[in-house]
Amino acid sequence: MKIISGFVAQFNASIALDESLIANKNNRYFLLNQNLKRLLRKELYYAGTYLGKTKDGKFFPSFSLLAMISRGNANKVIVDRKTAWLFICGRDVFQQGMTKVLGSRKKSSYTLVLNEYDECLGFGKITRNLDEKRTGLAIKNISDIGDFLRREQ
């Protein structure tokens, strides 16, 4: 599953995924366990833990996969409550809303965005070197859990 491990590596992270337990249905990837694996039939629509999908060669992660990455060492930014809410609403992260940075602080790195409870809210791309003590835009929102609501519209 190069496409998944490649995506995970962008966060300076790695997760162990047993390839024999990954199911692919219409370019959507699911992580199973042995119990679920024996129950798979061709009419499959969804199974186990959804990992994400590929479209035009690009990987779009699920929020379950992002949460899995966030449990280990990875690029992470912890944000305050107000910033967390704005991020879920699709907004970018400003430097003044960040309370902690873990892992890469370099421009163009990908980073997970977590709230004060260490819960992963999504991910984004660092727009400038975070070592610079400045205010203003710091992380461009790429995907956030507010997407669950947007999908329903």
């Binding site: 129950l39 499959l44 629509y45 929020f63 967390a84 809210l121 859990i145």
Partner: protein, 311 residues
């Protein structure tokens, strides 16, 4: 049957047997006086994802005032809210689900769910599937079926949001479930039904008795198929959000007499099932079912069955 015909003969001008008057008279003859109600909004905490106390504290911080639902372990009424409870961070992280209070009852009736093989035969949009997974602590396996693809998308979103990991979803008519060659220790049959006026303000305008009859037939077909898949000593919970006896007590009477299923006694919210309906005497065990007339909750019917032998 004669008595049923006699009941319907009271409505000679209603060839379609529909409309508010027709149904309200039926409810009256079942012992309930119609009243307009607005069910209260309810949530259920997904305890596999979060400590209950933490979720309650966070909801309070967000301006959501809740009250414990007396008859549910993890259910809470929304008393007041400054925000939409369907758009909080906690909701989007799957720490709780919005689930009507009566609809939370069926899953709680299974005696043991951990490590079990469970069929959720009519699963979408997935509120009860997530509740099953939560009660199972994501152990065992749930096979979730639904026939309509559009509803499966909602089910998949629900499973992903609530971090469910023990479920396999198939697009399949519940009446064809045996094609998988699997057997189940627990079966949840939250069957397609005619619904009720408390959950749909246009219900009286849109529903006719023909719909009720059509749904009752479909429900019997699903029951028969689910019976084939249920292991000996396995448990089946049947539920509808319909108030119509044809979809509830009559179907359970049919199941007891034709499928060698026994109705189990249950302790839960609601009144006893009706054993004499429109003059027709039903099996005495039907009183172990629960009928919930609309008030704080929507209308609902639930019954727990156990398999003891073959057809």
């Amino acid at each position: 049957m004669k008595r049923l015909k006699s009941f319907y003969s009271r409505f000679p001008n209603q060839r379609l047997m529909s409309g508010k008057e027709f149904f309200v008279k039926r409810y009256h003859s079942l012992g309930w006086n119609f009243e307009d109600v607005e069910p209260k909004q309810a949530i259920r905490i997904n305890v596999v994802n979060a400590e209950k106390e933490n979720v309650l504290r966070r909801l309070k911080l967000a301006g959501v005032k809740v009250q414990k639902i007396a008859f549910l372990e993890n259910g809470y009424w929304i008393q007041e809210s400054k925000v939409s409870v369907g758009a909080t961070t906690e909701y989007l992280l799957g720490l709780y689900s919005i689930q009507e209070a009566a609809a939370q009852i069926p899953v709680t009736l299974f005696t043991e769910l951990k490590d079990k093989m469970v069929l959720d035969a009519c699963a979408a949009p997935g509120g009860k599937t997530v509740q099953l997974a939560d009660s199972m602590g994501n152990t065992g396996a749930i096979i979730a079926l639904d026939v309509r693809k559009r509803r499966l998308a909602a089910l998949a979103n629900h499973l992903e949001r609530c971090r469910v990991s023990n479920t396999v979803v198939y697009q399949l008519d519940a009446r064809q479930a045996s094609k998988f060659g699997l057997e189940f220790e627990r079966v949840l049959l939250d069957v397609p039904c005619s619904g009720n006026f408390a959950a749909d303000s246009d219900w009286f305008k849109n529903r006719t008795f023909k719909d009720v009859e059509r749904n009752a037939k479909l429900q019997k077909e699903i029951l028969a198929e689910a019976y084939r898949l249920l292991k000996e000593d396995g448990e089946m919970v049947y539920s509808t959000c319909s108030l119509e006896p044809e979809e509830n007590e009559f179907n359970m009477d049919w199941a007891v007499k034709n499928l060698d299923l026994q109705i189990e006694k249950i302790q839960c919210h609601g009144q006893n099932g009706l054993t004499n309906v429109f003059g027709k005497q039903l099996d005495a065990s039907i009183e172990n079912c629960r009928r919930i007339w609309p008030s704080e909750t929507q209308g609902f019917f639930v019954c727990k069955l156990k398999k003891h032998g073959d057809i």
